[in-house]
Symmetry: D2
Subunit: 382 residues, 4 copies
């Protein structure tokens, strides 16, 4: 909590709070009630009353968390509390034919979709800001650097176009997952429940249908994890470039915005807070991805440990990637470019290499590449 | 080398040997020569002579490896050796306008494509074997197990259908990457070379065109790594199920094949060698994925360290995932199912739970799910 | 929060709450005030008033978290709030000569020590319970299993002795770190503050003195991370053995305790909740260790990203390892051993291998090893 | 192989070659023969003949690797080949009472010790070079940098002292492991063999005795992995500092040595090859550590997959950390310091901050810290 300013920026974190988790679980129970009613298994009126009861504010996150310890799942105490809430007539209609994992996995996919909505809105803004930089600096010369050494001139717009393209590609993969890769789970105790109810729940919640239950075949989780890892990697690249370019001795970029990054002890200093915060989040991402990929080794019809390790890991992974995206948006939307310092650093190159100052040909090539990327990028992210 | 029997099974490992790497690098140089000739930058006859010289057997892997140390890239000594090989008239036509990373990245994508060809052939065979098991055991009852405890009856075919589906999904993502997600790299020293030559090289080598150079925006690497990690995760799930089902006390599955898995000290023992070997490989995969994802934080136009860490990591990742796939094929194509032991283990459940023996309804549901998966799966992997 | 029943068992989690973090930061500020007073840099009365103000309940975790975003450190708003709290006469005596990282790193070490106190108390109980099992089952025959196949008879006590020894070794390393490997940080803005104040703060807080500031040389963090990873690995081994031994078809071990692990849908089922919860925690640990080790690549006098990624990661790592230890204690203190099932599973081995039932020699060897381990273990953990 | 110039520098890689592995396995068999003879279990003459046959050049790495596939262990074909080599009279005296894992684990520890000898010799040289820099630049002013921004002046010697201290601490932990933390494994099929033979083998091979077999309690592996990860982290910190300081715009450090790091396309450019190579190796390390830590979850008396994943992983981990150490030695022993550029960069700070040029007080503090570290370091690493 204390570090949420860094790790929980933007809307993604809120989409994954304890209350948000609780509501998502209840949304699945409500949807299941509607689906079982539609399938003729419970009375429609009962489904309506159950759905009415499925509001997070009626339950206590702390209490359910505490009781969950005895079961290694929060769904058992939640269903008990929900049955209590609906009363004796409806209690047997709650959670009909479902297993804990059905509810938890479906809720996870629901939350992932909500988190991705927030995250992708920020990612689009990051890409748009990079696009703006690429267009504005098509022919702003900057020294290209390889292995952290001055190499040959290029244009700053080309570097920004690379950022744009990377974000677009990574976000495009996440958007595809959001739009078709978050499947419902509703297979019952050992995954052999017929698909009728599952398909109804999927349609109701906006999840993808599942050809088969995936209780222990965790492709949806692994794929989502990988795609989040790729986006985090691109954001890290951008933030790393900015921190390097913002070094006093380089001075080509700096963070904009008011009163940000001041140092109490050193008044002259201006820290690249947004870029550092991007990195603070992205550095934590690969370790979470590895946990989810290693956790795909799950036993039989439900894993003893690997599944239970996913809950917090995926939650953290979405939160941190979302926070990194929000910080990156903040960073690029306010980024201050200093073409004059870029020019002066180029002069050093010209002096050291003995080359003349003309960088015109290179810039024309760079501008042509940028134009192609701006055109292609628009389609890719559309 | 000593452990290649475990880690390097099948054809994927051979696709990533030192000689295979060398040939891929030379293939790129040859293609670049043809492309620069087509662009009118060098004489066609020179391109033909260069291409003729680009045969791995003319060069020494060990010698190039040794000289590479002084440059942190194998391309510099390789280009020097190639220039030596073509002689004074053509030497200036070699490697024209390219940077080391162009050649190494394009070669990496070329090798990845070749490795994926081998790997996906085995993955298709794994999926087909799982499909066969699913069809053959549509109604073979087995106790479903959750948290490693007996839960409720299901059919073994449904578990196998889950394996099939997982492999199909994971392999489908890799096939999509092979067919359009392995881009050429040919941007020159700082990535601003115009696209003409790059597009020609891409077409010549069967790589995807790159809207922009991606020297330091490593989405193609990250995406490939994630997809390999997902396939490894599915294979690990299958192998884990088999090792558990092959326990003497369970006895529902065992590995087939002759003289495999004998123990020198314990003649009665039959080790699940293929399943264990799958796991020996898949357990090594997530740690390699994490290195590649963390390594996406690359500086400016070429990274100082993160890029150079990719070479061996991606090579190992492809090799190990390929080996796991070959072992999984071996495993599933010879898997021996024991319906009688499945039945006896079910009897224990019936005795413990006090339920009657009828599992008919559940099996009909399971069979319907299998049929749906067999139909859907065919499309997904097609 | 919702999953704290699984991930936050025992006392370690409480030691790392937002409030606990806040208090630890304030403890460092109070100690710094006393140290600067002792060094004659501020009036003793001012130090007393500052220390008096350093109580977490006087500040708001949420508010400081919110304001921290603009600085990428919680210390800047905390120091501002503390200066506000002490009033105009003392405000300049607060935080004298320190940098944010001094306070945050020292607080981290302080919290790590407190968390380790809780964790090691549980670890000692785990080792004691394993010791009890080893002593009680010195000669209880069980079939040894290799590659998940029946191999040769051994004694269950020997397996438990291995658990004991592993926990003792891993806990011993953590105890050594707690007792001398948690150094103070008090080097000032760029780490060149003289050692006088730092040594005073170290003595006051019970931290180890630091020969040099370690702002960007993160050996203490990496070493702690590795040692936590090793303990988690041993606990995972124990829990894995229990889940396997608790399979219905094996039945050699089961979890004790009342009303634990019941299934709502399957009344006959008894889930190994404690073992599964151990694994739910330990599976998350290696991914956190990798983040901290990779994060040791820190720039110059303070890192831009890698340091800021540590805060949440180390907090989670301590919490999860602590929770795993608490769950393991719960598991082993209530573990129910079934020698009769062990005997019956051995009979299967004798039938399959054609060997006679005599396991006497093997058990005597096992008992001798156990006796040696019980003796050695007592010293190692002392 | 092709990338060995980068990944396999120095003597550590050679200590882990296929032939080195083979010899280590044979060394264990020879030692076991001597030990069983000493215990009166086989004739001394037979032991001598077996030991005589245990020379790697008499066997084929490739052949044994190929045959190992069918057993998931190289020891079975190796023992078969060794029995063949010694002939019919002695064949039953080979490998007496041992299991494959005994030989492989003991050989692994033996190789780890040999690899650490090479690695630690380089690590001592790295520390010595850093010590030399610290002493030589006790009062060489440099601007301290935090978050990649100029902060306050310090001395370059203090930064080098931090490097020294980090290497000494990390190497000290590895030396302690080498000298007492590499235990023999000789427990027989299920780990209950009495300790007599094991103790003899340990003494003969210079390994630590094992109070209990650790076939599936992998503390020695996890501890070694963590310690290697810490050393790699320190080396990464050093190399990162150098790459940053070697930027053209900073210019405070550069790599020495002849004809290193030239660029074929850019004659003015001088790449920091050694620093980049350190990072190429260290970036691969954390992912290997995570595999070993996650792999500690091993079943019963021998794991089905997790153990078999260790062989290649630990081998790579030692090789890469060793290579990083050799590169770091190369880097620091030739490092060129430019006090004049340091001074000019400080001038920028003075101009920006409005502070006067006097940095004397700070340097005196820094020098005092350095002196303390030089004194303390000598003891710590002794």
């Amino acid at each position: 909590v204390l570090f949420d300013g860094t790790y929980g920026r933007g809307q993604t974190a809120a989409a994954l709070s304890g209350t948000a988790w609780l509501q998502a679980l209840l949304d699945v129970e409500a949807s299941l009630a509607r689906a079982t009613a539609a399938a003729g298994l419970i009375p429609p009126a009962a489904a309506a009353r159950i759905a009415e009861a499925c509001r997070a504010e009626r339950f206590s996150v702390e209490e359910i968390a505490r009781e969950a310890a005895a079961h290694a799942t929060v769904v058992i105490p939640l269903v008990a509390a929900l049955r209590e809430a609906v009363g004796p007539d409806d209690r047997d209609h709650v959670h009909l034919g479902a297993t804990s994992q059905d509810v938890l996995d479906s809720a996870t996919m629901l939350l992932a979709g909500r988190a991705l909505d927030a995250l992708l809105a920020d990612a689009e803004a990051v890409a748009a800001a990079a696009r703006g930089l690429a267009a504005a600096h098509r022919e702003t010369p900057v020294i290209g650097r390889t292995l952290l050494q001055q190499a040959l001139p290029t244009s700053f717009g080309l570097r920004a176009a690379g950022w744009m393209r990377g974000v677009e590609e990574a976000a495009g993969q996440l958007a595809a997952i959001r739009d078709g890769g978050l499947p419902v789970q509703m297979g019952g105790a050992v995954g052999r429940r017929g698909p009728q109810v599952a398909d109804l729940v999927a349609a109701d919640l906006g999840l993808a249908p599942a050809p088969l239950p995936w209780h222990a075949v965790r492709v949806p989780v692994g794929r989502l994890a990988g795609a989040l890892g790729v986006l985090a990697g691109v954001l890290a690249k951008i933030a790393r470039d900015v921190t390097l370019s913002a070094q006093d001795e380089v001075g080509e970029l700096r963070e904009g915005g008011e009163r940000r990054g001041g140092s109490s002890a050193m008044a002259h200093k201006r820290n690249p807070v947004a870029a550092v915060s991007v990195l603070a989040c992205t550095r934590r991402v690969p370790g979470l991805v590895v946990t989810l990929l290693a956790g795909m080794e799950q036993e039989h019809e439900r894993a003893a440990g690997a599944w239970q390790a996913e809950w917090g890991t995926l939650s953290d992974l979405l939160t941190l990637t979302g926070s990194a995206t929000a910080w990156a948006r903040d960073l690029l939307e306010r980024l201050v470019v200093d073409p004059e310092r870029m020019r002066r650093n180029l002069d050093r190159f010209h002096a050291a290499s003995g080359r003349q100052g003309g960088v015109g040909d290179g810039l024309r090539d760079a501008a042509a590449l940028i134009d192609r990327a701006l055109a292609a990028g628009g389609e890719a992210s559309g």
